[in-house]
């Protein structure tokens, strides 16, 4: 028996995995997409299908995040529109690289290795952030333009454009950020919020609040363009996307609600460790192909799903403990970069 073109087992797996990814997305504001492509690769989906389906999933989660916020927050629409061309070209470029590698029979390997490095890097950042959190007292105020952005802005490479806040930025910087993030999105099938938001903040130099809102707006554009671009090649598995969204839409609500009860600092280190395990899982997946040892595929799968399940349970555990010991009420601290 099959539903959405998937066996019942796969359907349940994708809904369950989507649920966990949604919890991370709602709670941490990220993790929504950079776990999906690796999971599909481990399940032996071809790289273009894994990346294209992940891009469509990114679009769905970005829509849900936008609905959750009621709007996308403080958005510099002019900046978003100027970045659009770069995003489109970047995604097209990323897709072209994927299909070129696929023609060479190396797409799964290269994308897999890229994910090993990406997940490990983000995992290390999270673990380090968790270990150093007690000494981090100098948070950004949200309105200050970072020094590096001021330096980049001072170069005045024409054509210069005036942004919504009245400041000026080079069209080259804006196009570079849009194109660079689009390339990563199109190549890996991720929303790219984890690099787009810092890039908008540090390289273009808008306020932090506008950077967050404009980044989410960018996720909508990236997701829609990515889904359309890969859709043109007919490689998106809509059954997989639907099952993942069915789980993630629910998980995101619970993850978002949990932020009202659970201190993010308590679970950040688990999320970092999970990303490191996910990186290891993808490495096992690559080794399974390279060494022709199917058992490593199983190890890889168990590691990825098991570590995700563990962090989900940790968030639930802290949430239930907090509800039992406090009288706080659910808030609307919805996050959602992508």
């Amino acid at each position: 028996m099959a539903l959405l073109g998937l066996s019942i087992e796969l359907l349940a797996l994708f809904i369950g995995f989507g649920f966990m990814v949604g919890v991370f997305f709602g709670f941490f504001g990220m993790g929504g997409s950079f776990l999906v492509t690796p999971a599909l690769l481990i399940l032996d989906y071809p790289a273009p299908v894994a990346i294209g389906s992940s891009m469509a999933f990114v679009f769905g989660t970005a829509v849900i995040a936008t609905l959750k916020h009621h709007d996308v927050g403080e958005v510099d629409y002019k900046l978003g529109a100027l970045m659009f061309v770069g995003i489109v070209l970047g995604i097209e470029g990323g897709k072209a690289v994927v299909f070129f590698l696929e023609a060479l029979g190396r797409a799964e390997l290269v994308v897999g290795v890229a994910y090993i490095l990406l997940l490990a890097a983000i995992g290390v950042l999270f673990v380090r952030s968790a270990l150093n959190q007690s000494t981090d007292d100098d948070d950004d105020t949200g309105d200050e333009i970072p020094e590096i952005a001021q330096t980049i802005k001072s170069y005045n490479i024409p054509p210069m454009v005036t942004l919504t806040d009245g400041s000026k930025a080079s069209m080259w910087t804006i196009s570079g950020v849009g194109g660079g993030v689009g390339l990563v999105s199109g190549f890996l099938g991720v929303g790219g919020g984890f690099i787009r938001m810092p890039a908008i903040y540090y390289l273009i130099g808008v306020s932090l609040t506008a950077a967050v809102g404009t980044s989410l707006f960018g996720a909508l554009m990236s997701g829609a363009v990515g889904a359309f671009t890969y859709g043109l090649s007919g490689v998106i598995d809509i059954g997989v996307v639907t099952a993942l969204l069915m789980g993630s839409a629910l998980g995101a609500r619970i993850g978002s609600a949990a932020t009202a009860y659970v201190d993010e600092d308590d679970v950040t280190i688990y999320f970092g460790i999970m990303l490191l395990l996910a990186s290891t899982a993808v490495a096992f997946g690559e080794l399974a192909t390279w060494l022709e040892m199917p058992i490593l595929d199983t190890v890889s799968f168990v590691l990825l799903v098991g570590s995700s399940l563990f962090v989900t349970v940790v968030i639930f555990y802290y949430g239930v403990q907090a509800v039992r010991t406090t009288d706080s009420h659910p808030g609307t601290a919805a996050k959602g970069n992508d």
Binding site: G60, G231, V320
Partner: protein
């Protein structure tokens, strides 16, 4: 089955984006109804437990 294969790639890709958009909106709204009905008693029960 639905004859979608006969449509041009551009139309198919546009339809796909539209389907994902509608799915996301329906899921968001549907789970919103469930959350409003289920969340308060669950939180209360957990608080009392």
């Amino acid at each position: 089955m639905l004859g979608l294969d006969t449509l041009s790639p551009t139309v198919q890709a546009t339809l796909l984006v539209a389907v994902v958009l509608v799915e996301a909106i329906v899921l968001y709204a549907g789970y919103g109804v469930v959350e409003r009905a289920v969340a308060p008693p669950v939180i209360e029960r957990l608080g009392n437990g």
